[in-house]
């Protein structure tokens, strides 16, 4: 028990500490957390999209449709499970499993904070990209096993698309990795942090190491070698949308062309696994983008600490640090406030009584979370996760925004964009980064 609690004080991930129990706990938390995020994304996407499209979105199940994802989940669970007669049963069964496993395995190395990852590998980034592209396999399996034309076409599109955009993505990623080894970074790394995965001599592929490099260099890589970092980030940001098959690159599941693409023949729980996998993958690639270019768990202006102030038994350190440390709690207070405003504005009608009370309770819960977040031990531990999540949330919102704005590319146009624009740009940025890094 003693050693179990001992870990809380350590400054490495459970994987590095060789602590299987904590690793398991982390895995469970991440699995639950990501599933929760997927569910809330489901609600948020429908709501945000609806408001972009001058409609209300889910309003019936719970206050403002808050319980809609749960209702949907229940519906999908109890739905009849259909496997087409001509389908290859085993592969048909395996495909969604492969996709979900691939999408969730990635999270082993995602650094939500300096210690908040299951483990840190010295090939973390490589592992992440490798496992993420396994999802393509699941898509192909689904398309092939369905023994139907639309899924087949969808999976063909998907494989071609994912393979071509992976190259562009890889180029962008390598240029970010290169940056870890340049100017201001390399020498310090070992001395200051001594993380297991980071190689102080010449850059690192470790996810934690990459963020540490940005911390040590006092710059997010998106701003480094301006505009090179920005271009690489842009290439990645486009490629990641293509990788996750989202609008405007949602050809594999182009609803108006291929009905539902590779998962046309799936229904009920299996179908929901695809959705789970898709949203989990969206969060995963966004995490890569955040880690590589946006400083991972680092808060904005993280090298600026301000004058030291002391609040007895509550805070000891930089004033700016203190202000930023209040953000998580303030966000939850703000959400609670929005919730209470919703309660006030709820129509005063007996039919709305349950909804009103439900919303009020929800707002109270949010406020409660905010209060908990103010407690010093929680506050210090949660900081990193908050900033990381906030950055990922921006990407999630972008995904929704794209969906509300863009039409869909045609297959040849998608390929042309990938091969004739994205890949050359990626290579050019890589070369330029190398040159600038060496010469500077």
């Amino acid at each position: 028990m003693q050693s179990f609690l001992e870990y809380l004080k350590s400054n490495v991930t459970p994987g590095q500490a060789g602590d299987p129990l904590w690793a398991l706990i982390y895995i469970l938390i991440i699995f639950g957390g990501v599933s929760l995020v997927v569910m809330s994304m489901n609600w948020l996407e429908r709501k945000a999209l609806a408001h972009m499209q001058v409609r209300l979105g889910p309003m019936r199940v719970g206050p403002h449709g808050l319980l809609q994802p749960i209702a949907d989940a229940i519906k999908l669970f109890i739905k009849e499970d259909i496997i087409p007669e001509g389908a290859d049963k085993l592969v048909f069964w395996l495909a969604p499993v492969v996709i979900v496993i691939a999408a969730f395995t990635v999270y082993i190395v995602v650094p939500f904070g300096p210690t908040h990852a299951v483990t840190d590998m010295n090939i973390g980034l490589l592992f992440m990209l490798g496992v993420a592209s396994l999802a393509t396999l699941g898509v192909i399996m689904a398309g092939w096993a369905s023994n139907s034309h639309y899924p087949l076409l969808g999976s063909l599109r998907s494989s071609a698309q994912m393979v071509s955009y992976e190259i562009a993505m890889g180029m962008a990623v390598v240029s970010a990795v290169l940056m870890t080894s340049f100017a201001g970074g390399s020498g310090f790394l070992g001395e200051i942090y001594g993380t297991g995965g980071a190689n102080p001599a010449g850059g690192t592929l470790s996810m934690i190491g990459i963020v540490r490099a940005q911390e040590a260099q006092h710059i997010w890589f998106v701003f480094k070698f301006f505009p090179l970092g920005l271009i690489a980030f842009f290439v990645f940001a486009v490629a990641m949308v293509a990788e996750t098959n989202r609008t405007p690159f949602d050809l594999p599941e182009a609803e108006s062309e291929l009905t539902a693409g590779f998962h046309t023949e799936y229904s009920g729980l299996r179908w929901s696994l695809f959705m789970l996998g898709e949203y989990a993958a969206m969060v995963a690639v966004s995490s890569i983008a955040v880690t590589l270019w946006l400083g991972g768990w680092l808060r904005p202006f993280s090298s600026w600490h301000g004058p030291v102030i002391t609040l007895d038994s509550y805070w000891q350190g930089g004033a700016v640090d203190f202000v930023f440390s209040l953000f998580p709690a303030l966000l939850f207070f703000f959400l609670a406030l929005v919730g209470f405003l919703g309660v006030v504005r709820m129509p005063k009608h007996p039919l709305f009584r349950v909804q009103t009370w439900g919303l009020a309770a929800f707002a109270l819960v949010l406020g409660g979370i905010g209060v908990v977040l103010l407690a010093p031990p929680v506050r210090d531990r949660v900081q990193d996760i908050f900033w990381f999540t906030a950055k990922v949330a921006v990407f999630m919102y972008l995904y929704i925004w794209y969906r509300g704005t863009f039409p869909r590319y045609r297959f040849d146009q998608l390929m042309r964009l990938g091969w004739k624009f994205m890949i050359p740009t990626g290579i050019a940025v890589l070369i330029a980064t190398a040159l600038v890094g060496v010469l500077a």
């Binding site: 001058v54 050809l251 108006s256 863009f406 869909r408 146009q413």
Partner: protein
């Protein structure tokens, strides 16, 4: 049940048609429809594909065939009037206008001016509604989800006017042979004017979403090209013809109703591609507004019904009358034998004839283009199958 010799599968029939250009090893026969999200109803297209490239198409239609022309022979002239609304159900007013005018011609009567103006106003409003529905669904087919909701929001305003005028929103049955059944309601003119003012900026809003959207332009420019001579040969009419550069609109070429009183332009395109058809239809919405404004300004007072007998017995004879429906030339060929029921009513549906061009437009394109072209042809299956 498949042992029967009478059962034929269109897919098999299509596959059997050997064509030397079709390479057996690479082709894939894909059945699109009749239940497919973007075939706008129950159109079934069988595609022969090489990968994603379209080698040939075959339309299987008739899933919505209700025998409207047969029904006409068993109803009186007036009784058949509501049936025509059910053909092109998104432009029911136009259908009714065509039919009523055809029978009026056969009876050799003319609707009074006030009725003509009301007809023009409602028909043009209906044209806008039809184009709005087209724009929303077409954009949705190409993957842009949002315009659908914008257009449906604004279409609601048109439908509200219809509802207030005649109680129905979709299948309006708003005209009668000889004029109009209902006088305009109190505040009709203001409502229509208000709609015009409300809708003009909305067109800009649609255009903002799409006209210069790079993906939209890439998806529609150069897709489904149909040249002017091709259009004429294929009998394609309406905005599709005009987008190919042929400045032909029945409202100008052979004016009917009160159209000769109004000033408006015929928008045309040059390339005859999907993008031009989009621009033409958007421009047509503006022109329709222009016509509506003029009509509301100049609407004359007077009777709304011509003097016609209680029992309609047109003299023996036959007539072909056509109007410019939102989809193209909508013609009625009515044969009378002097009795109370038409001897034959033939409907020349624009969607049916336009759909013929599908094959020519999509060969060599990709699957995604098929969807875009079906959308751009603006077919309504109720009218194709009748």
């Amino acid at each position: 049940m498949s042992e029967s010799t009478t059962r034929t599968d269109p897919i098999l029939a299509f596959e059997e048609k050997k064509d030397p250009t079709f390479l057996d090893a690479t082709e894939l026969v894909l059945n699109m429809g009749p239940q497919h999200p973007s075939t706008h109803g129950v159109l079934r297209v069988i595609l022969k594909l090489d990968g994603e490239k379209v080698l040939g198409t075959e339309c299987v239609i008739g899933y919505l065939h209700r025998g409207v022309e047969k029904i006409a022979e068993h109803r009186t002239y007036a009784m058949f009037n509501p049936y025509v609304d059910r053909m092109d159900y998104v432009a029911a007013v136009s259908n009714g206008l065509g039919y009523c005018e055809a029978v009026e011609k056969l009876l050799n009567v003319e609707a009074p001016p006030r009725a003509q103006y009301i007809r023009v106003i409602l028909t043009e409003l209906n044209r806008i509604a039809s184009h709005q529905l087209w724009l929303g669904t077409h954009a949705l087919d190409i993957g842009a989800m949002t315009p659908l909701f914008y257009t449906f929001r604004d279409r609601e305003e048109v439908l509200k006017i219809f509802e207030r005028y005649c109680g129905a929103r979709l299948t309006t049955h708003s005209f009668r042979i000889g004029g109009c059944q209902y006088e305009t309601y109190e505040g009709f003119e203001q409502d229509v004017k208000k709609f015009c003012d409300f809708f003009e900026p909305k067109i800009d809003e649609y255009e903002q979403l799409l006209t210069t959207n790079r993906i939209w332009v890439q998806r529609t420019k150069g897709v489904g090209i149909l040249s002017g001579p091709d259009c004429k040969a294929l009998g394609v009419t309406g905005p599709v013809l005009r987008a190919s550069g042929v400045k032909w609109d029945l409202r100008k070429a052979q004016p009917y109703a009160a159209y000769k009183d109004f000033e408006f332009e015929i928008p045309t395109g040059q390339n005859g591609d999907t993008y031009d058809r989009y621009l033409v239809r958007v421009a047509e919405m503006r022109q329709s507004l222009r016509i509506i404004r003029q009509a509301v300004e100049g609407i004359p007072e007077g009777a709304i019904m011509a003097k016609i007998p209680k029992v309609l017995k047109p003299p023996v004879g036959e007539i072909y009358h056509s109007i410019e429906a939102p989809k193209g030339e909508l013609g009625y060929f009515v044969v009378s034998d002097g009795s109370t029921q038409p001897y034959r009513v033939r409907v020349r549906p624009p969607s049916f004839v336009n759909l013929q061009a599908l094959n020519k437009m999509v060969i060599g394109g990709l699957v995604a283009d098929v969807v875009a072209v079906i959308g751009t042809l603006d077919i309504v299956l109720g009218e194709v199958d009748r």
